[in-house]
């Protein structure tokens, strides 16, 4: 007798990715570069976030041909993005055998009110969060992995740092709180009470939490690891740099040895130019991806 899609199997899959780098790719060739550089998984997309930002319009699930092409090209796990609340995109990706689905604010939300009920799926989900309330809501819906939202496609780490710090600070508050204060904390943060109790008891989130949204250099990746990330997603940072293979390899090394500054210095040398990047203040409020979802 065996059980498919249990919490342990879904959360465990993310545990195996810890200390690793997950890279956005748009075709088989990029997927192979990522795998060769030591990525623990790839995210198959039609366009990387910075191109989505530049193109405007509605961003949807990638063409299944691209996802399939990537799945056939590599032996590491393949993730893909579905729009927030888009039940059918998620079910299609699940049916295709994608290893993890990102219910992602990088795509245009399909539902501005409700996120997917992720515990009904066999495939595990990763979701973005900016604070403990959002993290706990997503866990409550069945997310098996979290990541900071950051501000995707900007190459600017400031928002990911803000979100990681916020989550860590609030976990510490919760852990040190007396139990009779938790319900009020739940009300104030719009967070499910039971999930908060679980976090309090463990002293950490019950699922892995990666950094995402603005990682552009090896030093950025190492910074996020120091702030408590379990691993790193790199979106536009790799294939928008002028030497992707080099960038990919260097970011993997910096993530593994995030406290070895000599090594980070060494891998950062003559690496080529990082993606150009965007100042957050220049992004119109309605263009901010992190405000999608709740």
């Amino acid at each position: 007798m065996s059980n498919l899609g249990t919490d342990r199997v879904k959360r465990g899959m993310a545990e195996m990715q810890k200390g690793g780098v997950i890279m956005d790719v748009v075709n088989a060739e990029q997927a192979k570069i990522a795998e060769d550089a030591g990525a623990v998984a790839v995210m198959a997309l039609e366009r990387v976030p910075s191109d989505i930002r530049a193109a405007g319009g509605v961003a949807r699930m990638a063409d299944p041909t691209i996802v399939e092409e990537v799945m056939n090209a590599v032996s590491i796990p393949v993730m893909a993005k579905a729009r927030i609340g888009h039940i059918v995109e998620a079910r299609v990706l699940e049916a295709m055998g994608v290893d993890y689905i990102d219910e992602s604010e990088v795509l245009t939300p399909a539902d501005e009110e409700y996120h997917l009920l992720k515990n009904e799926y066999t495939v595990p989900f990763v979701c973005g969060c900016r604070n403990i309330g959002e993290a706990a809501r997503r866990i409550g819906e069945g997310a098996s992995m979290l990541r900071t939202k950051g501000e995707p496609g900007t190459g600017n780490i400031v928002e990911a740092v803000r979100h990681m710090r916020e989550v860590q600070t609030q976990i510490r508050q919760l852990v040190h709180m007396s139990k009779d204060e938790v319900m009020t904390f739940a009300r104030d943060h719009g967070a499910p009470y039971e999930v908060l109790l679980d976090i309090k008891e463990r002293g950490r989130l019950p699922v892995v939490n990666f950094a995402a949204g603005g990682v552009a250099t090896p030093a950025d990746a190492a910074l996020m690891m120091q702030l408590g990330a379990d691993g790193v997603f790199v979106g536009s940072g790799i294939f928008k740099s002028d030497n992707p293979a080099n960038f990919a390899k260097s970011i993997v090394e910096a993530t593994t040895h995030y406290q070895d500054y000599e090594l980070i210095g060494k891998v950062s040398k003559g690496m080529g130019t990082a993606m150009k990047g965007l100042e957050i203040g220049t992004i119109a409020p309605e263009q901010r991806m992190q405000d999608r979802g709740w």
Binding site: L4, K10, G12, M16, G19, G20, S75, I76, V252
Partner: protein, 196 residues
Amino acid sequence: MLKIGVLGLQGAIEEHIRSIEATGAEGIIIKKKEQLDEVDGLILPGGESTTMRRLIDQYDFFEALVSFGERGKPIFGTCAGLILLANDIVGQDDAHLKLMNMKVQRNAFGRQKDSFEAKLDIKGVAEQFEAVFIRAPYIAEVGNDVEVLATYNDSIVAAKQGSLLCSSFHPELTDDHRLTAYFVNMVEQSKQEVVS
């Protein structure tokens, strides 16, 4: 106190440390090859085997790991760790550490949506062990010197060869520490043999 290392390049490292500590031994995360001299036994954790192999080469761990195994120091490989130990990998020209006389099939049960939990009997270790399989490999063939410890639907999922132990599943993801305790005991015995 017995010291057991967990190769700390990538994967479920802290979970193994927790499991080792639950059995009463000391768990040490191994990030540099010199640290291998400090430990009595080593766990190769689950993670992505291709990623781990890259990092093993990059940090010059390869020879040190092979020599650790060849000197008879116990190694326990789980999931990706099992793949690293094998002599032969189905569909690949080359394998990794080549310490165990067996041929493994990667992602043998399918993709993530086919990942599962099942109760297993592990010979000489535990009955009804809660085994968590995640994109797991299985052992397709074993040599004469390899003892099969557990099967799932006729596929080999745990085995032992002298001081080397491996499982397709993840004992570190549950609170059932019996398999880890079995390995800790192997380490203890090997240490006594060295002393005597």
